[in-house]
Amino acid sequence: MSTVTTPSQAPTAPPRTPDVPRTPRRGRSRREGSGWPFVLPFLLVAVLFLVVPTLWGLGLSFTEQSLMGNGGWVGFDNYAEAFGDATMWSTLGNTLVFTLISTVPLVVVALVMALLVYTGLPGQWVWRLAFFAPYMLPVAVVVQIFVWLYQPEIGFLNYWLDRLGLDKVGWLTDTSVAMWSMALLTLWWTVGFNFLLYLSALQAIPDQMYEAAALDGAGGWRRLFSITLPQLRATTVLITVLQVLASLKVFDQMFIAFNGGSGPGGVTRPILQYIYDTGFTGYRMGYASAMSYIYFALIIAVAVGFQVLTSARRKEQRRGR
């Protein structure tokens, strides 16, 4: 990864406004033809498999559908029901809990890994393999491995806890532990992704900054806190935002680990699973769609919230200078 050499080239450059890329100058000959055919295939699949279902889902959310057939237009009934639905709120709460307890370690551990690997200790290949390999695994494999590790009696973790004289843990059965077990599994599985993002951001910090600091007599810790971490600020914000959005979409791990069930006391069932259960097991597709849209609104709110926060901060910084 010696390609990223200067900060301006780093993938972590501040998000540009999604301006339309430069257009060719006017006055070109006609034989170039129009650009339409280039975008047409994409527009086709985007409309068919993204725009249409998005609108269809919105339409469905105002109808009552069940195995009994189409109950027709019910206006905002589904939304009203959802807001009074304790299960929706509790599963939404589960999703938020997971997001909180998974995002923090997924950012912090990734940063620690990247900092350690960046020090250039020999064996770069091995470190990257160790940290990133789990990301390449299908989720079902990850869950199978962890269910085996979490096994109550002969599982690797409880066996060693017992040997060390500690209490065994109900990794998948204790209501206060199960979600942490899912977060731990997710940490192991996906931290490598954030690790690589951090690593490439680190490699984009110019050596001259460290050299200058070394001349000024700054020690290792001083350099970490005065150069490295400040330089990583923009990356950290981006990784955190992407991680929060990814964690809010959690579904696979819990669904597979608990065989489609909702975990001990229902504590691990995320809202996406409740939507899935409602639509595909309970066959209430209208209600499932309404909850999808409530969830969508949450995602958008989070994304916009971050956007507003970061742009406000950027403005502040600019004014400060």
Binding site: M1, W36, P37, L116, F193, S200
Partner: protein, 308 residues
């Protein structure tokens, strides 16, 4: 950022000698950690501990897969079981055949998704970056807005749609909805926008239209971004669970993640065998990573932040 980051030759990377690389590593280490021996030792210790922790679940899974069920469940746990290792689990899993079948399915589906997504998105990226047509700005803004729509909210209407066109339990039903990747269009368009105009102008002078320019000039020099997007899309499609799970019921059409998740019910307590099938399922992408580590690392770095 795009052009420089991705296409800059890796500092002559491929041909750099090991000695040079080692020197560079030493220099960075000195710069980052200072010359303190304590700091270096501490960093090594923590790094090794972390790496061992991360490799341990994999190692234990592989170890278990070579044990008999009785050995796997025997207390005390043993890395080297009495009675030696066995290949029995692998034989059973392979004879059952489904894992191989799922792997072929996944390869076909992930391969198709990758080729089609890259094709469709690269074309659109070029169209938005380098051509003119009525409504372009509006469409590009719309494409960027679509990035915000999480596919997860579409499962119900998409499934209805697939039912309506009879695509449930078909390959096209699994593949088609995975082709829409507005973020990749955005990444491509940003990259193409930075290809020097002079290169295209030269092609124009020679009488090449948009298509010729795209195929013979722009695409070949954009190989780094194409492979980055392809790798990214492939890993995502290979491991995708939710949509393939919803749209397939027929075990013959399932992908690896979906198929393995259904097996669990049937053989839940046969841990040694489960680990053997998990190892088989894990192998292809781990090998892929070992072979193409440099490219994959670069792909994550360039596309992981969604072109930002």
């Amino acid at each position: 950022m795009a052009v420089d980051t991705i296409s800059a030759p890796a500092g002559g990377g491929f041909r750099r000698t090991l000695v040079e690389r080692r020197d560079e590593q030493r220099r960075t280490r000195a710069l980052v950690l200072g010359r303190s021996k304590v700091a270096t030792v501490l960093a090594v210790v923590v790094l090794v501990l972390l790496a061992v922790t991360w490799l341990l679940p994999l190692a234990w899974a592989v170890d278990t897969s070579f044990k008999t069920e009785a050995q796997a469940q025997a207390v005390p746990l043993q890395w080297f079981p009495d009675g030696g290792f066995t290949l029995e689990n692998y034989r059973t899993v392979l004879e059952r055949g489904e894992v191989g079948r799922w792997m072929v399915n996944t390869l076909f589906i992930a391969g198709s998704v990758t080729i089609l997504t890259v094709g469709v998105c690269a074309l659109a990226g070029y169209g938005f970056a380098r051509t003119r047509f009525r409504g372009k700005n509006l469409l590009f803004a719309g494409t960027v807005a679509l990035i915000a729509v999480p596919g997860q909210i579409l499962i119900v209407p998409l499934f209805r749609q697939m039912e309506a066109i009879g695509a449930v339990d078909t390959y096209q039903g699994v593949i088609l909805p995975q082709l829409v990747a507005p973020v990749m269009v955005y990444i491509f368009s940003k990259f193409f926008a930075e290809v020097p105009q002079e290169i295209e102008d030269a092609a124009r002078v020679d009488g090449a239209g948009h298509w010729r320019t795209f195929w013979s000039i722009v695409l070949p020099i954009s190989r780094p971004i194409v492979s980055a997007v392809a790798i990214f899309v492939f890993i995502g499609a290979w491991n995708n669970f939710l949509w393939p799970f919803i749209v397939t019921n027929n075990p013959d059409l399932m992908t690896l993640p979906v198929g393995l998740s259904t097996v669990k019910n049937a053989y839940g307590t046969i841990y040694a065998q489960t680990m053997a099938s998990a190892v088989i399922a894990a192998l292809p992408l781990i090998l892929l990573f070992m072979l193409f580590q440099r490219q994959i690392v670069k792909a994550v770095a360039t596309t992981g932040l969604g072109g930002r």
